[in-house]
């Protein structure tokens, strides 16, 4: 029996269990891993049977808020991504040096629960609650386990986020109030709001409020100022969470609220937004090129790629929308892999600087080739997952050949900065050997293997996953009345 409420509740119960367990650091990590894999197994076991499953309880009658969760294809895709990435984020933890491991794992699992809630919420107020609540575990992860400047980075991160979505409550309430216009009580139900939101006053202001919140969290250029510090200062597993899942929350918001409630406005504003997104692709790319630190380099490359996804969403054609949704999944997988191997490298070097060492391939061959694989996937070489997604985005933009050419150039840019990293760090004349440079073991390869398999699978045979997202794309296309290419 599939229960969405059980799926939602399980991570929280796991988090409480993690707080109570008294185990050695190693066993604690194992326990957390097992607990985080269970939702993934449940999702895989149920696969498409999960769609349509619903939970609806009256939660706060005085405020009209329902505890309403529903899974549709779009939700399910993001649920899969979340359930997949959380175990990798736990695997990226170095259990022997982690302080207060109980709290750390509990926070990650709590975040998983909040994300499950967020990706399935059908009540706009509930959606907002999860949207804001997911910041807290991330804030604590950065501030308690981050790098030297973690205090500043964490505060900057959360204040940016809260500032971005501060007015969202006003937007939610105005939608509620205006939904009363047709007679009867107000509602926070997204399906009902989708019917009334087309004809409300001040719609552009309300949509602007939501869009700002989504743009800050994703982040869309130029709302990214929090990103470099937060990604850099967070511990590796926190960076994986930020880059692979948190950015997808913003993308999901645009798909869910933007496309379903304000399709006309989104269409009207799309040229401007597309401009921002393309600027972001290049801005992130150029800055990644100039970094002398590989963690920052990957952070900026993530900014660039996320803006590529947004370009797909704002291109307003069915193909690029499908490409964008697919890319959201692909980017999550690839960036998790990149940060995972970058974390292993950092562990061995003791720093993330690009300047200090060279020619590591001689000492760390396996890590080198694994990194190269994720780099190749990240620059969208044919045969990898990103190639399919980015190609679809470009294909959807075909009516503007100049834009296609421009975005095509950005792919070359990503090759330049990524290979610059590889060349600086792994190739070239080797630096003198240090005893901490021990190559990764079979265990590490085994950890990365699922990501490698997924990257190749989606790259070589994308039909199943495209079929999987097809209903979601068609639903959104119908909402927004997009041109079908």
């Amino acid at each position: 029996m599939l229960s969405i409420f059980g799926l939602f509740l399980f991570p929280f119960l796991s988090a409480i269990a993690m707080l109570l367990l008294r185990l050695s650091p190693k066993n604690l990590k194992r326990a957390a891993l097992i607990l985080s894999v269970i939702p993934l197994i449940a999702l895989i076991a149920g696969h498409s049977h999960w769609t349509g499953i619903e939970a609806n309880y009256e939660w706060l009658p005085a405020l009209g808020i329902h505890f309403h969760l529903t899974i549709d294809n779009l939700s399910l895709l993001f649920l899969f991504l979340t359930a997949l990435i959380i175990p990798f984020s736990i695997l990226a933890v170095h259990s022997s040096t982690l302080t207060s491991p109980n709290v750390y794992y509990a926070l990650i699992l709590m975040l998983e629960g909040l994300l499950f809630g967020f990706f399935t919420a059908r009540d706009l107020a509930l959606f907002t609650i999860f949207w804001e609540a997911m910041l807290l575990p991330l804030y604590l992860i950065i501030i308690m386990w981050g790098g030297n400047n973690r205090q500043k980075a964490a505060l900057k991160f959360i204040v940016y986020m809260i500032a971005g979505s501060a007015l969202m409550v006003a937007g939610v309430l105005s939608l509620y109030i205006f939904s009363m216009a047709g007679g009867g009580g107000g509602t926070f139900n997204l399906d009902a709001l989708a019917k009334t939101s087309l004809s409300i006053p001040y719609a552009s202001w309300i949509f602007g409020i939501f869009l700002l919140a989504f743009a800050v969290k994703t982040p869309l250029f130029p709302f990214h100022a929090w990103l470099p510090d937060a990604y850099y200062e967070a511990p590796v597993s926190g960076t994986i969470l930020l880059s692979a899942i948190l950015s997808k929350a913003g993308i999901y918001g645009i798909l869910r609220i933007g496309y379903e409630l304000f399709p006309d406005l989104l269409k009207m504003w799309s040229p401007l937004l597309l401009g921002f997104a393309i600027a972001g692709v290049f801005y992130g790319g150029f800055l990644a090129w100039r970094q002398n630190d590989f963690k920052r380099l990957i952070a900026y490359s993530s900014l660039s790629h996320v803006n590529f996804i947004l370009a797909g969403l704002f291109a307003m054609s069915q193909t690029s929308l499908a490409g964008g949704i697919l890319q959201a999944l692909n980017h999550g997988i690839t960036i998790a892999g990149l940060f995972l191997v970058a974390g292993w490298l950092e562990e061995r070097l003791g720093s993330t600087s690009l300047k200090q060492t060279r020619g590591l391939c001689k000492y760390l061959p396996q890590l080198c080739w694994l990194t190269l694989f994720f780099v190749v996937a990240s620059v969208a070489l044919p045969g990898t997952n990103n190639f399919v997604g980015e190609l679809m985005i470009l294909f959807g933009l075909i009516q503007n050949p100049w834009l296609v050419a421009l975005l095509g150039v950005s792919v070359i840019l990503s090759v330049i900065y990524m290979l610059r990293w590889m060349q600086n760090e792994y190739f070239g004349p080797p630096s003198p050997y240090q005893h901490s440079w021990v190559d990764i073991h079979a265990k590490h390869i085994l950890i990365a293997l699922p990501l490698v398999v997924l990257i190749l699978f989606f790259g070589i045979y994308p039909a199943p996953v495209l079929n999987f997202i097809k209903p979601a794309v068609e639903k959104i296309t119908a909402f927004a009345n997009l041109e079908q290419l």
Partner: protein
């Protein structure tokens, strides 16, 4: 109504209805007597006795019947709201007594008088919460204030307390004068000081002179109450007084006085004169805007935590003005919900401060460095309270703010909502900065934390209440909305 029907005696039901008041009054006097005649006994007995008195009064309040005796009802109301306020205020009194007992474990001073004054102040608060007439209201406010003037300067050898106490007394006396003058004007306009006669008196006015008198009176009453609630621009006393008073007194002022002042606002303006005049609502909305902006801005720079909580309290007063301005049927439950959450979170915070409070100057922001390492429990509790005050989901503080904003939206105060939301960005910054400091490494050698069980009790109860309300606020909300 003929004279024959008017009761001239109190029967048992009436005494039972009055029992919380009587228990508190007699108890307070007993505490004072013990202090006068047996000082040695008082130093041991005052706290347990006061706590016991408050607990008995709480139980009595929960079961007290309503009285319809005409000797009482013109002065005191026995409606569900009065019962709610009574229980709420007695609980705050109990928490303050617990915090005070923790304080006296470290700082030596006579205790009997302290608890007598505390109980008197709580008695004043109860009168405000149950008042049915301006005179009861004024009596309650004065009993509260006079006790507090003394309590502020209770630590006679603390220099900072002298200034605080003097300042509070002078400003408080002025505010009381305004309030009394306002009451006199209202009486002049409509010939009664009873709350249930206000609305009909206001509606029945036909001459301009009368309405000038009445509205002038209302303006002065509002001013007097705004002073007590520390609303910008009548807040100037609050930071200095909070800063200079001993920490448990600050806690009592931050919660008790705040609740008392808003209870008075509720009694006069939400219950007796709901939406009587749109201009009054506009004025309250206009007061809320500078209160929210100023308090949140100045709180950014505070390093002394008592002073910090003064500004935090002012900013929450700004939020509490929003339902007063709206004045709709949902305004009262929204206000009560917010007040309750504010009280829990603030008392929880002061419970944490009680552990760190070791000198007259109070706890500084720097003292919190590395609190998470020193005591994860205290730091966790403090963080929870601060997040609740900041209104960050999933804490119940978010629902409290959401409720307020919903009420304001329905009443059409869009700008107030937007300003409230924007200032909450500042609030998030200054509350989370404290959380960040607690999580940072220890900066200097620190003495191990002392253990005060009374403060721990307050902390644990606040923490449990916040967690339960965060997960499932529906029953309490339904209780307040009367469903």
């Amino acid at each position: 109504m003929s004279i024959a029907n008017v009761a001239t005696t109190l029967n048992l039901t009436d005494v039972a209805a009055l029992s919380p008041f009587l228990i508190l009054l007699i108890g307070a006097l007993v505490v004072l007597l013990i202090e006068t005649f047996a000082e040695n006994v008082a130093s041991k007995l005052s706290f347990p006795l006061s706590a016991l008195i408050l607990i008995i009064a709480l139980v009595a309040a929960a079961y007290a019947p309503a009285s319809d005796n005409l000797l009482l009802t013109p002065w005191l109301s026995f409606d569900p709201l009065a019962r709610l306020f009574t229980i709420f205020l007695l609980a705050i009194g109990l928490a303050s007594a617990l915090l005070a007992s923790a304080f006296f474990q470290h700082f030596k001073a006579t205790q009997g008088e302290y608890y007598f004054l505390l109980l008197s102040a709580v008695f004043g608060l109860l009168l405000i919460g149950s008042s049915a007439d301006f005179l009861t209201l004024f009596l309650g406010l004065e009993m509260l204030s006079i006790a507090l003037y003394v309590l502020c300067g209770y630590m006679k050898r603390w220099n900072i307390s002298h200034e605080a106490s003097m300042k509070y007394f002078l400003m408080g006396a002025l505010a009381a004068a305004f309030l009394l003058y306002g009451i006199a004007l209202i009486y002049g306009a409509i010939g009664t000081t009873r709350f249930d006669g206000l609305l009909s008196g206001y509606r029945a006015m036909h001459s301009t002179q009368q309405s000038v008198l009445f509205l002038g009176g209302i303006a002065l009453v509002t001013l007097g109450l705004a002073f007590k609630a520390a609303i910008v621009p009548f807040h100037v006393w609050a930071p200095d007084v909070y800063d200079g008073a001993p920490t448990p007194v600050t806690a009592f002022m931050a919660v008790g006085t705040k609740v008392g002042a808003f209870a008075a606002f509720v009694r006069v303006f939400l219950v007796a004169l709901p939406q009587f005049n749109p201009i009054w609502s506009e004025v309250i909305a206009l007061l809320a805007i500078p209160t929210l902006i100023y308090a949140n801005y100045v709180a950014l720079r505070q390093v002394q935590l008592r002073r910090f909580f003064a500004y935090s309290g002012i900013s929450h007063a700004g939020f509490l003005l929003i339902p007063l301005a709206a004045g709709t049927s949902d305004a009262l439950p929204a206000l009560m919900f917010y007040l309750t959450i504010y009280a829990f979170a603030t008392l929880g915070s002061f419970a944490v401060l009680a552990f760190l409070d070791d000198r007259p100057a109070g706890v500084m922001l720097n003292d919190l460095h590395g609190l998470f390492k020193r005591s994860p429990m205290l730091a966790g509790l403090f963080s929870l309270c601060l997040l609740t005050l900041a209104g960050i989901p999933p804490t119940v503080g978010f629902f409290a703010k959401f409720f307020l904003f919903k009420v304001a939206f329905q009443a059409g105060y869009y700008w107030l909502v937007i300003i409230g939301l924007l200032t909450s960005i500042l609030a998030a910054y200054y509350y989370l900065r404290i959380v960040g400091i607690m999580l940072s490494p220890v900066s200097k050698e620190v003495a191990p934390l002392r253990h005060y069980w009374p403060a721990a009790v307050v902390g644990v109860i606040s923490c449990v209440a916040i967690i339960i309300l965060s997960c499932y606020p529906a029953p309490f909300m339904a209780f307040l909305t009367g469903e």
